[in-house]
């Protein structure tokens, strides 16, 4: 027990992290995960936890644009990298198209898995925004399902989430669904 107390006191170091474009310079325990540091040290509680074992995807954030499980990553491993959390997804007061679509289609019921799913989905859409390989791997429902398959949602049954990501992708001119495939829900069709 004494050992752990000793470890704790000796393990705090000044660490610089870049989160959502802001540089945080803070004394942190080097054995703390990125999840712990975001929520407890930086006060960014938008990132959630559902298992802290890398099983549920609730804690997903973006590190250099890639979705990662912040519960399995040490904060010190993120030094010098760009971290994006749910708090950094909107452009100032303008919602990200994904956030807008999630709100419009009811893709967030309790909202607890939403930050992680938005991060995973943003990473997917960003790749298609950057990338010209779209023709090779078209963005369709299968790709979207794959991208969020590591995120557990217990409320929605995923369908509204997939539809919302498709709606956002459509608005960003990224969607390349097979025209024969039914994409959007009846409710959205009615609204259109």
């Amino acid at each position: 027990m004494k050992k752990s107390a000793a470890l704790k006191s000796s393990a705090k170091q000044i660490i610089t992290l870049n989160v959502n474009g802001r540089v945080y310079e803070q004394a942190l325990f080097i054995h703390h995960t990125l999840l712990e540091v975001l929520r407890e040290d930086l006060g960014l509680t938008g990132t959630k936890h559902g298992c802290e074992l890398g099983e549920c995807g609730a804690c997903a954030v973006l590190v250099n644009g890639e979705p990662v499980l912040s519960c399995l990553l040490l904060a010190v491993d993120c030094i010098g990298k760009e971290i994006t959390t749910i708090e950094g997804i909107a452009d100032e007061n303008r919602l990200h198209p994904l956030q807008k679509a999630f709100a419009e289609l009811g893709a967030a019921q309790c909202g607890y898995c939403t930050p992680g799913i938005l991060c995973a989905a943003k990473s997917l859409l960003d790749k298609y925004l950057r990338d010209d390989s779209r023709a090779v791997k078209p963005l369709n429902r299968e790709r979207i399902k794959e991208a969020v398959s590591g995120n557990i949602c217990r409320c929605t049954g995923y369908l509204k989430i997939l539809e919302a990501i498709e709606l956002a992708a459509e608005r960003l001119n990224l969607l390349q669904n097979d025209p024969s495939q039914k994409i959007l829900s009846t409710v959205y069709d009615k609204e259109k």
Binding site: E87, Q109, Y112
Partner: protein, 811 residues
């Protein structure tokens, strides 16, 4: 009371009023809260399924740096439980532990790690006792928590009159809610001795009562605020040890104390679906008329009472609300076992019997050579009727639901016509829209809403209800907005705060839309009446000519004459004083007067029908769900977007229960959970979820707000039996238990499935109740005396023995 053509907000698929906080990470759940000087709490839990605590040694734990306070069972003398009849748990166990995970000691420390280290440093001497880990074993040991027996009409006569008799055993495995948010609670003491508890709870009112009881404080000194729930599904509708423990720690230390449970702890917290063994015997006439039904259920309740008495009665209550049953008998018992306690999960006690009945009807239809959809449609319960067990059915849209899914799925071209390996199955269900009777018997309203109008035109709505993700905040805002003629997002909501909001009993039993909605209508109607009086005086026209819409008051006959909503409020405030109104809702009295009639009555019943199409691989036994068609009789969809979301979520959870989710324990390894993590406890991912075609049937119920009924739970019910029926259609084997693992499918295909048998069980006492048609002399309006007696049934001492006195078997 309203003209559907004039509705502006009700029935519109608008985004939730609180969608943006949920999509931006700004919504604060319980664990997102921090307070200055806050301490962290960890709980040490029993590693044994059944043991006596001989000695607790805290000497090492006390020496861990940062430890501030340690509590054990000695610090709590008052038991608690969600039902008045089942006050059988202590916040921390002192003498005996009855399941792995039962709380024994609590540690408050300056940081979470120190609290964890202290919990690890506890040393306990246990006397380990052999646990009972099955329904059969507990029945043998006499560990019966509660038994029930009810007979409506004469089933033996019914069986004599039937042409065919069907009899089978069914088993529904237990499973858990797995809400993504891990339970958390933060207790904050005030310098004046008052306490505030923030908790992820579906039942702030019951938590308030329980804290007052267990902490021995007047309720007026305790404030409970339910934080937005990151999913509930019934898993946060009990009061839990950790909520009481952090409250006590906060009072003792004078510091805020927070606890956030781990996923593994939540698997042991449980209160989920009861594993249920069922025996069903049905007598039918040649045309499929159900002349008699005898149903028996044995529920594996786990270690404590929880909602169990209600769960037991629910397994026998709603059989009668879908198809006409001439004579009906229910016998059942809930048994104590040494497992995590079971309680209410989405559908509470009704998915299990529904699974049995809907499979049996498939078998009946096959034998009688009637299409399963036609068979069901021919024998539907009529709207505005009374069932044999005295449940009053109002609107009943099941027939339309069946038509919709039959048509949508192309049922007639598929049923028994698809190639081997592919199949379709149909099943139905029905659920309550709020329990007609409260947990604590009293004449108080079940829900109340308070509205305050501001001179600036602001509308504040106060209500004890808590949004658990189902969209009840939006429902409340939409109802008030409709009546006051303002936009739903203009409304400020203050919810689930026992200091500030009038009581709502909680987000369980699918009661919120109906009860909160009705209370909100009343409060809003009173407010708009005051505005109309004031405006009518100003304009010199009668009140009925004034209409509120789009943030303005209009003269119906001269739409050019209008004034702003805020001006109307000012006129009313000048005339009557501050514009504050209240509305309350109490369900109508139930006609049932027999002992045990407290479970089942509801102001209204929702109905669902589903067709599931599967592909079964006979080589691997893997079942792929190809598509689900589901129709739900919602009465009136206040927000179709939210309603469809609830239907899809129910289908998802029903598929999980049907195919993979199971909460099971290792009997030979101390009774530990087999899969207390999200990797091993399988649930559907985005890749497993099939396409779902949802149809909303709107058959307004006179008791529902704008005719609305429930949707949060009912649509789960038809899914598991529809999957089982589809598997039969696909490969010709009848599997009468879930989850339908590939292994079970393969065993069944090889005719090697272990046969389940139903133990010899007869309810010690069966109450014979004459059918409503046979008792014209009995007034259907019960007198208060009879009513209170019937309600007291659950408050009488249970006939069974608590596990401590009967389950102890020395190893």
């Amino acid at each position: 009371m309203f003209n559907p053509a004039e509705l502006n907000v009700i029935g519109k698929p608008i985004p939730k009023v609180d969608a943006l906080p949920r999509c931006t990470g700004k919504l604060q759940y319980a664990d997102d809260l921090t307070f200055p000087e806050m301490l962290f709490c960890k709980i040490y839990r029993s590693p044994y399924a059944h043991a006596f605590i001989k000695k607790i040694d805290l000497s090492k734990a006390k020496k861990i740096p940062g430890v501030v306070k340690i509590l054990t069972g000695e610090d709590f003398s008052i038991p608690f439980g969600i039902l008045p009849v089942s006050q059988d748990e202590y916040p921390l166990s002192n003498k005996e532990v009855r399941y792995v995970g039962e709380p024994i000691a609590a540690f408050a420390a300056l940081d979470e790690e120190s609290a964890y280290q202290a919990a690890k440093a506890i040393s306990i001497e246990f006397e380990i006792v052999k646990p009972s880990m099955s329904i059969e074993e507990s029945l043998k040991q006499g560990m019966i928590h509660k038994s029930a027996g009810l007979e409506f009409g004469d089933i033996e006569k019914g069986f004599l009159e039937s042409d065919d008799i069907f009899e089978n055993v069914y088993f529904y495995e237990g499973n858990t809610h797995l809400a993504l948010e891990e339970h958390a609670a933060a207790a904050v003491p005030d310098p004046d001795g008052k306490l505030t508890l923030y908790s992820s709870t579906q039942v702030p009112h019951y938590l308030h009562r329980t804290l007052a009881k267990t902490l021995n404080l007047p309720p007026s000194r305790i404030r409970v605020i339910a934080s937005p729930n990151g999913g509930g599904f019934g898993g946060k509708s009990d009061v839990f040890s950790h909520e009481i423990v952090v409250s006590k720690l906060a009072l003792l230390t004078g510091k805020p104390v927070k606890i956030s449970l781990t996923r593994e702890e939540i698997f042991y917290l449980h209160r989920g679906r009861h594993p249920t063994l069922m025996w069903l015997k049905t007598g039918v006439k040649k045309d499929g008329t159900i002349s008699s039904m005898h149903f028996k259920s044995l529920l594996d309740g786990g270690a404590y009472g929880s909602y169990g008495v209600a769960s037991l009665y629910y397994t026998g209550a709603l059989q009668t609300t879908t198809y006409k049953i001439e004579n009906y008998k229910f016998e059942g018992a809930r048994l104590f076992t040494h497992k995590a306690p079971c309680g209410p999960k989405r559908g509470h006690g009704t998915p299990q019997p529904r699974f049995a009945i809907e499979i049996m009807l498939d078998e009946v239809a096959e034998k009688l050579q009637i299409d399963p959809a036609e068979l069901r449609k021919k024998h539907l319960v009529q709207s505005n009727s009374i069932t044999p067990n005295y449940l009053k059915v109002g609107s009943m849209g099941l027939g339309k639901c069946i038509d919709k899914v039959v048509e949508g799925s192309g049922w007639k071209d598929k049923f028994r016509k698809l190639p081997y390996g592919k199949g379709v199955g149909l099943a139905c269900g029905s659920y309550i829209c709020g329990a007609g009777l409260p947990i604590y018997w009293n004449p108080l309203p079940h829900s109340s809403v308070m509205i305050k109008l501001d001179r600036g035109g602001g509308v504040s709505v106060y209500c004890g209800q808590i949004d658990i993700g189902q969209g009840s905040n939006s429902m409340l805002a939409q109802v008030v907005a409709e009546i006051l003629g303002v936009g739903p997002s203009e409304i400020k909501l203050c919810c689930a705060d026992t200091d500030l909001t009038p009581v709502d009993l909680g987000s369980y039993s699918s009661r919120v839309t109906l009860m909160v909605g009705n209370a909100a209508i009343q409060a809003a109607q009173k407010a708009v009446d005051l505005l109309k009086k004031a405006v009518s005086e100003k304009w010199g026209i009668s009140e009925d000519k004034i209409n509120f819409k789009n943030g303005k008051a209009f003269n119906r006959e001269n739409p050019d004459l209008s004034l702003d909503f805020s001006e109307a409020v000012q006129l009313a405030e000048a005339k009557f004083g501050a514009v504050c109104t209240v509305g309350s809702y109490t369900p109508p009295k139930s006609p049932g007067e027999y002992k045990g009639s407290g479970v089942g009555p509801s102001p209204a019943y929702s109905y669902s029908a589903s067709v599931v199409q599967v592909e079964v691989d006979p080589e691997t036994g893997i079942i792929q769900i190809e598509k689900v068609w589901i129709a739900h009789d919602i009465g009136k969809a206040i927000n179709p977007l939210s309603v469809i979301g609830q239907v899809e979520g129910s289908v998802y959870m029903g598929l999980g229960e049907a195919l993979m989710e199971e909460q099971t324990f290792r009997a030979r390894y101390n009774g530990v959970h087999k899969a207390p993590g999200m990797l091993d406890y399988k649930s559907l991912t985005s890749k497993d979820m099939p396409e779902v075609e949802t149809y909303l049937i709107e058959d307004p119920d006179p008791n529902g707000p704008y005719g609305a009924k429930e949707v949060g739970q009912g649509p789960l019910l038809p899914i598991p039996p529809a999957v089982a029926n589809a598997v039969y259609d696909a490969i010709g084997v009848r599997i009468r238990e879930i989850p339908l693992h590939p292994e079970k499918v393969l065993f069944a295909l090889k005719n090697k499935a272990p046969k389940r048998s139903f133990p010899s069980f007869h309810a010690p006492k069966v109450i014979r109740v004459p059918l409503p048609s046979e008792s014209p002399t009995t007034s259907l309006l019960s007198s208060d005396l009879l009513r209170s007696e019937s309600l007291r049934v659950d408050s009488s001492p249970s006939s069974g023995l608590p596990p401590s006195s009967s389950g102890a078997v020395s190893s």
